[in-house]
Symmetry: C4
Subunit: 404 residues, 4 copies
Amino acid sequence: MATAKEISYPPEDPPKTHDFASDDEPRHIEFAHTQSPHDHSQHDHSLPITEIPTASSTNTNGTAHVSHKSSSTLRRTRSALGLHPEAPLDEDHDHHERQTLWWSRVRIALREPFAEFWGVVIMILFGDGSVAQVLLSTGQATAPGGNGFGAYQSISWGWGLGVMLGVYVAGDSGAYLNPAITFCSCLFRQLPWRRFPVYFIAQVLGAFVGSGIVYANYISAIDFAEGHGIRTVPPAPNATAGIFCTYPQAFLTKSSQFFSEFIASAILMFVIFALKDPSNNGVGKSDKWFPLCLFFLIFGLGACFGWETGYAINLARDFGPRLMSYAVGYGSEVWSAGGYYFWIPMVAPFLGCAFGGFLYDLFIFTGPSPVNTPWMGFKHIFSPAYARRARRERHRKAKEEGMV
Amino acid sequence: MATAKEISYPPEDPPKTHDFASDDEPRHIEFAHTQSPHDHSQHDHSLPITEIPTASSTNTNGTAHVSHKSSSTLRRTRSALGLHPEAPLDEDHDHHERQTLWWSRVRIALREPFAEFWGVVIMILFGDGSVAQVLLSTGQATAPGGNGFGAYQSISWGWGLGVMLGVYVAGDSGAYLNPAITFCSCLFRQLPWRRFPVYFIAQVLGAFVGSGIVYANYISAIDFAEGHGIRTVPPAPNATAGIFCTYPQAFLTKSSQFFSEFIASAILMFVIFALKDPSNNGVGKSDKWFPLCLFFLIFGLGACFGWETGYAINLARDFGPRLMSYAVGYGSEVWSAGGYYFWIPMVAPFLGCAFGGFLYDLFIFTGPSPVNTPWMGFKHIFSPAYARRARRERHRKAKEEGMV
Amino acid sequence: MATAKEISYPPEDPPKTHDFASDDEPRHIEFAHTQSPHDHSQHDHSLPITEIPTASSTNTNGTAHVSHKSSSTLRRTRSALGLHPEAPLDEDHDHHERQTLWWSRVRIALREPFAEFWGVVIMILFGDGSVAQVLLSTGQATAPGGNGFGAYQSISWGWGLGVMLGVYVAGDSGAYLNPAITFCSCLFRQLPWRRFPVYFIAQVLGAFVGSGIVYANYISAIDFAEGHGIRTVPPAPNATAGIFCTYPQAFLTKSSQFFSEFIASAILMFVIFALKDPSNNGVGKSDKWFPLCLFFLIFGLGACFGWETGYAINLARDFGPRLMSYAVGYGSEVWSAGGYYFWIPMVAPFLGCAFGGFLYDLFIFTGPSPVNTPWMGFKHIFSPAYARRARRERHRKAKEEGMV
Amino acid sequence: MATAKEISYPPEDPPKTHDFASDDEPRHIEFAHTQSPHDHSQHDHSLPITEIPTASSTNTNGTAHVSHKSSSTLRRTRSALGLHPEAPLDEDHDHHERQTLWWSRVRIALREPFAEFWGVVIMILFGDGSVAQVLLSTGQATAPGGNGFGAYQSISWGWGLGVMLGVYVAGDSGAYLNPAITFCSCLFRQLPWRRFPVYFIAQVLGAFVGSGIVYANYISAIDFAEGHGIRTVPPAPNATAGIFCTYPQAFLTKSSQFFSEFIASAILMFVIFALKDPSNNGVGKSDKWFPLCLFFLIFGLGACFGWETGYAINLARDFGPRLMSYAVGYGSEVWSAGGYYFWIPMVAPFLGCAFGGFLYDLFIFTGPSPVNTPWMGFKHIFSPAYARRARRERHRKAKEEGMV
């Protein structure tokens, strides 16, 4: 995505947070063009500053050429949040004096959480929105075509394109949109674990807010369908809680519920790892096919594994809206429905994605992965001394690269 | 889209009118290759002119090498229309003597309005055409499949691909196809406000003409469905006015009507700003994904937010066809239906798009935007002196760049 | 498509036959890299010839380095067929001795007709195949989903992707797949008129053969639906003739029939001209979006203008299969149905496409087109002397370029 | 796909196993950049090895710079399996010491079978999964939309995107995913016949395992639909065996069954050969359109030729799941149904693909193919001496290139 010139990570630091939204290809170009990592901070700062004069430009008088995102306050704030000290930011934009504004600095400090938040909001708006439209208009005879505004397939479209557009929106954060995928990126792809909490919070909040907007948009229609102020949960007739989060089919045993989420999550992670593997010959390196492929992947999961449990495959997508629906009055059945099913889309995606990622690394991936270490990575678990050494080594490297 | 060599704007002037159809990437190449902005007008004019001889070539005898589009008459005409003095035009084509023909000069003078007009015509032909086909053939048992020629989803397809193909057609004008998007480009992306009126007129006219063609095409079928000469408006049974413009579901309150259009417009603008943001890492810079992404975006709005008010999200798309349907005899109910609903798709898209654009600039955009000025842009509103200074500054720059 | 090096047209000759399948961009590169048009024939012939020895290699003993496709016999044959004397052929392949085989020379001589034939076969296989499957399985309760194998939308998919894949197959001929588009390419885009007949024959034959294969594939199912040996034409109940060619809805007047085909054809040509216009900024130059855009265009025509007359918009697609269905026993009703409707999809596409192309050239196109000559091209019609001069000029140029 | 630098086949050896997943274009670049084939093995081995220390690094002490995949044991193992002695492997990854781990060497030795296996697993998961969801939820009134979770078209989507994503996953093996396509690549495209067996086994195993996962996922739902432990085969009411493999419509004669599979397979191969033909001008060379085109191709086969026999067109896709369904208790009817139909999707795809490939090579392909040898390739059959000579020649070449 980003060309080599425009992202100002120091070149020693591969853009770990971009794993899922960017190709690694341009990086190589950067390595080739950069003689030394240290001369990177000495590039040309003589950009003309000809924009509208700003009132706060006084504090940049003597330091107009300082890269704003690498100011020490910002670096400290971002580090404290678990983020990379330097924000992923277009370099031309970074040097501009508008980045000294108070809000601009907030925006830089929270760059990845903001991106992740809005990516999830967009995903949920389209995903939950499609369920709302199809469910609430079921059978409406005045619709063009005479049978409601959409069929089950609209929901495959909604989630598929919601994820696709969410990835476009959240490009600056890596566009995980799913705690389980962030989790596997930490586990298998060297994303530092300290990134996880802030991403997790942003993702769950985004899903909460997104589903709230869908609720606000369809509140008249829900009143019309259920009766004013009545809110019910499947399997009640006319239940509308299924708009926001998933409820399982009645015939499923607990283990079938779990397995259905597990297998869908494993497929999700396996295919995403294939699509992001620069050494897989089936995948274009410089082209921008990832978001479109993700559309097909999510569409397929909806069309092929979406019936039994509603393919949550994402804690944020399920828990955030569930909390929202609880908050607006759907009652405690949102938790107890399906035999307290709610915990399954919280746990199964993590285990399923981890298993899918493990399979990909075991059978196909040839790059750096814990699976490509002795004992297929299990030495980390069974030999404490080995694990400690590896952890120390990794920590040392992170320090060197200024990532802490 | 255009490679750097082929568009003859002077390089100081970023192609503002192309915001939504072109990438900024090729521009950088141009800057790199051009030593001085002034030598741009001295490039090689020795193109062989070997086409069919034209009768009107006499007036080019002494001035065969003059760039036609920069002739002073043309520049004055275009300036008076609010357009950039120089038309976006392939340079090789510009120098050709066929551009001296009377009609060719009209075509250059009205380049952007023509493009915008035809882009909207194509959009409306597919969009309104899909509603017409689905609505009028509802339940027809002799159709292949036994249930009409299309279902609600055809309408998502129709509008989605109509916008996509309209963008391809209207590449020379920036392909806004929507006054609210032109409006936000002026508000947030430095498109000069004087461009707005001529774009607005072209867009509304295009929608009027496009829907007229759809009406002419389906007139026999409408007569067949409603009875010869009878034209009714929803919620009448057999009403066909919904083919042309939107009518809200009966259960909606006025504020729900407004909110539904508002939220869909906000999503539209938010995602388009993300897709056109060259500093967003999620977006390919040199690839041509924008029209396809727009297909998915519009499809998604239809599948997820298309039920309650029919996702007008565009004054031109709704008002133009409404006027047309009034003109051909649907009666004054086209205005009064839904409690004089007609003004909502005229007002809500502007406010919704402005809000969506504001959110994007507030949380993600790092480039030049009023939101990235002091007080998040509101200083323009609350400090008249500041606003005046900024306006004067902008005017001065526009003058320098020859944009007036 | 082809990189500059691989197609061996002499560089003075723009690849006229490729208008609709190739971008012009690579050409420019070729011009840039070639000092003189004459040294093009002196490139390196020292390709190693290490393939399986062929029995017929004797006749290449002394002339092993001769470009086979420019052998004088081949040139004469192709010229007599109305084709460009030199076949569009990968240059490396051209020099290989396998091209001296008898059949290889036939293949080179008939390169474009073969490509056009097979492109149309593929288009018809998917298009007619989709109608056959949806129509014949209508309402079948044992289908997954309980309601037949596809709905009307499958037909939009079938024709859309049939055209897309046909364009990929027929890349060497320009992939017109439609006599009306070939016609407009002659009229507006300098494709020599002498190309028209052989393309026309190949297209109609391809449609005849393609629909014959569909008939053979579905013969058991047709017998099952209509009764063994019974073949009927709409509006008979159980009629299956609609699988192969189009029949209008009963409520249409003759002029509505005509207008429906006319407007769909005009849209087809207008959008294709936009998609193939290298000076339109909305269209990528080096990317390969054309086939995919064509999918959306044809899909849209099916979803939005496919009901009234079945969007034939193509003499070959309608007449070829109609002839086939007449030949296999559907009776003379294939001609008389709908008030001898059969001539409308033969005539309207030509007029509609010509009108659509005229509109595009009138309002948007700035390149060489008759519309960009005095009197908007009508001087050719109203001033015989002018037309004669232009014709002579064009002929002279064609001679120079060795195209006759 | 792979850029020239990253695949370490010696440059004399075109990447035969990549026929269907990679473009040939980058190869040319490699030839251009490589002075001599022999200096290829002397490139820079001084890659920093800074990863987590591995216990097994002792055996690389003196030979740290040896390319692991070309170790003689590996070469021998791969050769014995019928594979190219050197695995398709990112060169940077190849030199890394993690490739000395026991499992890494297994992964390199079985690189193509692993890729093919997982590609088929993914294809079957989505394909069979879509049939399962649509079939088992048919008519369920509590679904959003009120009529089950998907319609027949979901199945077109499922198989189409399953193949597309399978191709992305299996890029390292060439992504045939179908024994008939591997077969035709041997027959027409110089893939050595000794590759066939191991690919065949991997493909059938993949389909067996993939359908087993689908069965496990839907076991509760199948019990719910048929009754606990009851498993029936079409045409029994409520039969669920059709989820896994294909069963023909009842009205088909044996020859119609055969012809339907034959024609669909021929179309499959014809279009794939067109899409992979670098000398066909309709096909982009450097872009990555192949997987998306394959989606459209498979979708189209499902929408247009999927009714009569269920478009198996692939021995692995049909036989693997059939075996699985036999193993889990569907009884011997899986073999006897449809008049022992099971052998048709085993035989017809080979004959159909061979015929389709023959047609493409006969009429369009100009590159090296047996059809482009004397007597259209039949001299191989009718002249034993000629065939023997050609075979010997080919063997000699393979030896030279180290492929045995």
